[in-house]
């Protein structure tokens, strides 16, 4: 069961940034509408100005909650703010173990750690293209000693958890979505994560360790909207960045034993609560 949860969570990291029905835009879900996907959080339009989302399967090992709130239009852009909270400690301690699926060395115990994130989203339709800009601040609050050797040095994961080691980080991104027919659309996005000054918390100021500061993620998805309540997405995600061992890049999803990239396959559903 632990392995299933772990695979799901890793897969969610790959698929989790998938642009859904404007999930990453400044637009909120209509009131009482919910949306979810195989690897997506459950989102719910609580009111015309508030939207909640949560990763249901993550929740039991990594409690999390996100709130998106509409804001006044800014420079002709629809605007919203988004606040996220995640408590990663239970899951990280679950994978700090001996043997298979021991992702973190067993000698490390992760202290209580709270991840907080605040973002500003701005969206606009320009000549049939939906454009969204986002940017924000991430905080990693730890209540105890966090050993810097306990990092997980793999794409997608390292920079997301890096905020706990660096105490703070910055993220920004651009999403571009366009419908090329009634049923078919494309999404291209770019996300940049920065961990300024990470070198200061590294044990060894060796040059190779001064890096680990940025990650650039890019995604391309082809979207088939079967109906208002169901759609299928496929494409790829590309990640490049600096890690404790140097720079690296990878096309995802990647299947290790087959040594091949495979396309993202994501199914998403939506309904409106009566």
């Amino acid at each position: 069961m632990k392995k299933i949860i772990f695979y799901f969570i890793i897969a969610s990291l790959v698929f989790g940034e998938t642009k859904k029905w404007d999930a990453h835009s400044a637009y909120l879900l209509p009131q009482k509408r919910w949306e979810m996907g195989l690897f997506q959080p459950f989102r719910y339009g609580y009111s015309e100005s508030i939207e909640y989302s949560v990763h249901p399967l993550w929740f039991f090992v990594m409690p999390n909650l996100s709130i998106k709130k509409s804001q006044s239009d800014f420079a002709g852009f629809t605007s919203a703010s988004q606040y996220k909270m995640v408590y990663a400690t239970p899951f990280l301690n679950m994978i700090a173990k001996e043997g298979i699926m021991g992702i973190i060395a067993p000698e490390f115990r992760m202290p209580p750690m709270l991840g907080l994130s605040a973002s500003w989203l701005m969206s606009k339709n320009m000549a049939g293209v939906n454009l969204t800009l986002n940017g924000g601040l991430d905080l990693g609050v730890t209540f105890g000693d966090l050993d810097t050797r306990s990092t997980i040095d793999i794409p997608l994961v390292y920079h997301r958890l890096g905020v706990y080691y660096n105490k703070w980080g910055i993220h920004t991104g651009l999403d571009v979505q366009k419908n090329i027919s009634e049923k078919i659309g494309v999404l291209v996005d770019f996300d940049l994560r920065l961990l300024p000054g990470l070198a200061e918390v590294q044990i060894d100021p060796d040059a190779s360790k001064l890096m680990g500061e940025y990650s650039l993620e890019h995604k391309f998805l082809l979207i088939w909207n079967k109906s208002e309540n169901f759609r299928v997405l496929t494409g790829y995600k590309f990640v490049m960045g600096e890690y404790p061992y140097g720079s690296d890049m990878r096309l995802l999803p990647y299947i290790p034993m087959a040594e091949t990239w495979v396309p993202i396959i994501e199914l998403q559903w939506a309904r409106k609560k009566r």
Binding site: P106, D153, Y245, P256, M257
Partner: protein, 373 residues
């Protein structure tokens, strides 16, 4: 559309490096050079050779994989101190050629230190070549994470034609374990400065399997003997050595009880495994005499009259000291060897047991008679 496909093609090429690196039967070794080379032109005379399994610079750290320990990642400061001590030892030995096993070049467990480069930059050795035996973006077990570890040849003189020769994988593992497991090898390099007339000069380094319970060790030694015979039959000269993970003929073959950790159970009907992997040297017929062909064909740094004497033991698990406070087992078997198809100086073979704190293996050195002196 063409540009889009081209861009995707570039991403596919750049972003799809293998997760676990597998190797051809023969491939190029990775070449190294010291950042600042010492002046060491060969001007005839003897050549000192050392072999040493340096246990990736973790010294007596209770690592989970090869001792009774539970830990995986050593702190950077201690690794730096250990590597400095290893470099000091090599400088004190003043070897011309050093054959290393278990060297990390980019591993999470040792802070991603490139230990080959470190040793070149902190010893009087100038050139190196390296062959991975374990290279993966991420090992999802025991917190190992990213790993790149292997064998290296370091030399005062330039190395050329460096080749990584793949050894057979273990066959006593399931497919998933084998995929993430070690790919042991022989690394061979030519040293043009030591050419003797028409005889090219080679250094050959090996780390044979430790834990296989099938005939993998026999396969490794056979491939090693074959590699050396090719050089010898070609009329060339070699020095060779490494961690053969085999005891000399006539040695004890069962170290299960002395290597036993708390809670282990061996040599009983209830035991999950009757013998401890890596501590028993009679897994297949003929294993106790597996090194006889090497002794029969070539000159050994530690001769047959001495190789089972305690002063030439080269190994004990690093946590043997911790089994009980009154028993200090620093070394209790010989696993590390030097051979040549030339001639060692008869009194030069040494096992450097004073270095026992720096690894779970001890260096062995000898001086090769060269240049007719």
């Amino acid at each position: 559309m063409g540009k889009l496909l081209s861009s995707l093609g570039v991403l596919l090429i750049l972003g799809c490096d293998p997760f676990v690196t597998e190797f051809e039967d023969s491939s190029d070794a990775v070449m190294y050079g010291a950042n600042s080379k010492s002046d060491a032109a060969y001007d005839s005379g003897d050549v000192k050779v050392v072999t040493w399994n340096i246990r990736f610079g973790i010294a007596q750290f209770p690592f989970f994989g090869d001792s009774c320990g539970d830990d995986v990642i050593l702190d950077d400061d201690t690794i730096e101190q250990n590597m400095a001590a290893i470099a000091d030892s090599l400088n004190a030995m003043d070897a011309d050629i050093v054959l290393l096993q278990e060297v990390d070049v980019s591993s999470k467990r040792t802070g991603y230190m490139d230990q080959v480069q470190y040793l070149l930059d902190n010893t009087n050795l100038n050139y190196g070549c390296y062959a991975s035996m374990w290279k993966a973006d991420f090992i999802p077990s025991d917190g190992i994470g990213r790993i790149d570890a292997g064998n290296a040849i370091l030399s005062k003189y330039e190395l050329t034609d460096a080749e990584r020769i793949q050894l057979r994988l273990r066959t006593d593992q399931d497919g998933l374990t084998q995929y993430f497991y070690l790919r042991r090898n022989i690394v061979k390099a030519k040293i043009p400065a030591l050419t003797q007339g028409s005889q090219d000069f080679y250094a050959v380094d090996i780390h044979a399997t430790a834990f296989a319970t099938d005939d993998t060790k026999q396969q490794h030694i056979d491939k090693y003997v074959e590699t050396l015979a090719e050089i010898h039959d070609g009329g060339d000269l070699f020095v060779t050595g490494g961690d053969l993970n085999s005891v000399p003929p006539g040695s004890s073959t069962d170290f299960c009880e002395s290597d036993m950790c708390d809670g282990d159970d061996y040599h009983t009907d209830q035991a999950e495994e009757y013998h401890k992997e890596g501590s028993y040297f009679e897994n297949f017929e003929g294993e106790p005499d597996i090194l006889l062909p090497l002794y029969a064909a070539y000159d050994s740094a530690i001769d047959t009259a001495s190789y089972n004497l305690p002063e030439h033991f080269t190994h004990a698990p690093s946590t043997s000291l911790l089994i009980d406070d009154t028993t200090a087992t620093m070394y209790d078997r010989k696993l590390d060897y030097l051979f040549t198809n030339g001639t060692w100086d008869s009194s030069s073979g040494r096992t450097h047991q004073a270095a026992w704190e720096l690894s779970d293996h001890l260096p062995v050195s000898a001086v090769l008679n060269l240049g007719g002196e």
